[in-house]
């Protein structure tokens, strides 16, 4: 039977994905280009028995999410680059208190107020933790509206499973463009959270905190965080690969950029060129295992809507075995299919 699809934007798909994942708390603050998320949550959260708050600031929004998660909710906030910088305080506390939470960053150009054009220049901030302290987030990068819906749903499960903040990292194009999306039935069972704050009836008090003053206590605690990171690094790597067999040049791109790279690969392949694509879906953990070619002549070409951020992870993964080239544009510039094809032709 043919399934019904609805035509929605990436931002709306993220919001609906959250609701279908059982998200029952959302707090946000308006910022372009992700305003459809806060509007959608304001309109629809109450129907599903959830709470949506327009907070007085990004700091307050992420702190409300901290509180809701501490109380056992499935909670989310969303923003775009300058707002995500403000949220870093709360994200660090969420990581330190081992709370699950979903944070959406629909990236725009920076630094500073930058512009409202699509960008991928928050990759470093997203994949290195972003705030103070030794921690990471799981970072997922959708490349279509359907995938934005699916990865948002997944992010709530991963956040609960590992008690870690999860970031959906998109850009202004992904957030704004509309595509047909097939929705799935709502998640029915949310995991029990014995550590959550609910009042201490019949048990000892639960404390949610990230403060470890005793000598050595924080080091000990951070080791448990790092052990969790190691398990995630092993279990939660996600990527897509196209035409890798026999490829002479392999493009590496994520999110919106991967869609343009994909059409460049299709054109080049139809002209007999041996070109493939690796599309990281999990940016942290980075899919290092995808860069395992035995062909020493193979060249990787990383393409980003930034001055070169993910390329550093590609170089770490390749570890000097193959050349790693870079093509990127910053400040809202988007490398075109033609620019990619020209660059590949020079490398072949």
């Amino acid at each position: 039977m043919k399934k019904d699809k609805i035509l929605i934007s990436g931002n709306e798909a993220i919001a609906q994905g959250a609701i279908d994942a059982g998200c029952n708390f959302y707090a946000g603050y308006p910022i372009t280009p992700q305003n459809e998320i806060i509007a959608y949550m304001s309109k629809h959260m109450a129907d599903s028995g959830g709470v949506s708050i327009q907070a007085e600031s990004e700091l307050a929004a992420i702190s409300m999410v901290y509180g809701a998660s501490a109380a056992g909710a499935r909670s989310m906030t969303s923003s775009s680059s300058p707002g995500i910088s403000l949220k870093q305080e709360g994200i660090s506390y969420i990581a330190g208190a081992q709370l699950p939470a979903v944070i959406v960053n629909i990236m725009r150009g920076g630094p500073g107020l930058g512009n409202i054009a699509p960008s991928q220049s928050d990759y470093f901030q997203a994949t290195r933790g972003g705030g103070h302290g030794d921690y990471r987030l799981i970072v997922l990068a959708p490349a279509s509206v359907q995938e934005a819906y699916e990865l948002t749903r997944l992010s709530f499960d991963l956040a609960d499973k590992y008690r870690i903040p999860v970031m959906i990292l998109g850009d202004g194009i992904l957030g704004q463009m509309m595509e047909p999306v097939e929705l799935r039935p709502k998640t029915k069972t949310i995991p029990q959270k014995s550590w959550a704050l609910s009042g201490c009836r019949g048990r000892k008090p639960n404390i949610v905190k990230s403060f470890f003053l005793r000598e050595g206590a924080l080091e000990e605690f951070n080791k448990t965080l790092q052990k969790n990171h190691q398990i995630i690094s092993k279990n939660e790597i996600r990527f897509e690969e196209i035409n890798l067999s026999g490829a002479k040049v392999v493009l590496v791109a994520y999110g919106t950029m991967a869609r343009i790279a994909k059409s460049a690969v299709a054109k080049l392949s139809s002209n007999g060129k041996k070109v493939g694509l690796i599309r990281p879906i999990s940016l942290w953990p980075f899919p290092k295992t995808a860069f395992n070619s035995k062909d020493k002549k193979l060249k990787y070409l990383t393409i980003e809507m930034s001055a070169g951020q993910m390329v550093e992870d590609v170089r770490l993964a390749v570890n000097g075995r193959n050349p790693v080239e870079f093509l990127g544009r910053s400040g809202g510039g988007v490398p075109t299919e033609e620019e990619i094809i020209n660059k590949v032709k020079k490398l072949l």
Binding site: I53, A60, Y66, G67, A73, C200, P205, N206, I207
Partner: protein, 242 residues
Amino acid sequence: MEKLFTKTESLYDLPTHYCPGCGHGIAHRLIAEVVDELGIREKTIGIAPVGCAVVAYDYWNFDCSEAAHGRALAVATGIKRVRPHNIVFTYQGDGDLAAIGTNETIHAANRGENLSVVFINNAVYGMTGGQMAPTTLLGQKTSTSIEGRKKEKHGFPLKISEMLALLPGVCYIERVSFHTPAEVLKAKRAIKLAFENQINNLGFSLVEILSPCPTYWGLNPKEALDWTRDIMQKEFPLGRIK
């Protein structure tokens, strides 16, 4: 035989880390006694501050959360909105509530969040070593106002309770002090009312306590209590504000 007093279940039987003459120990006990008397220990969730009382959860026998400095009322909002049947309170100092968290304070109050706030005003930053607070009095010496707070340079002591009283979402505000046992009992009654208001879904309640900090006021414990009575109270008059 009638039992007049028992151990407070909501307070662990532990010595505190506070300096001699500090008000935090009294405030912790009053909250614990109120929670016991209202029979709400098993549904209470406290938000501990950043500052000297950062480990308040080590002394209270009920669920607690830490909050980043200034964010207690945003954290409390998140908890209370997903658990409206729990009793949620914040415990915040002057720097937390009236400097770095002014925004969170004003907007939680303005939304009329059904929360109780215990606001410890000791006119100084204690944990970090005695710097000027938003509530530091004019002329009061601190490590960042070594010649005394000057209005031309540092502005005036911030009367945040009076400011909050203007907001329609606020249900109850009272300023109390610890300078005599009778005042301590008044403080307890105020805290109890703030909790009862939440139980009765009446909205935002706040109790400001003029609380002694002998260490960073450069006074002994007795002098510090006298100072709240004779000096601090002139700037921050006691009584019901709303």
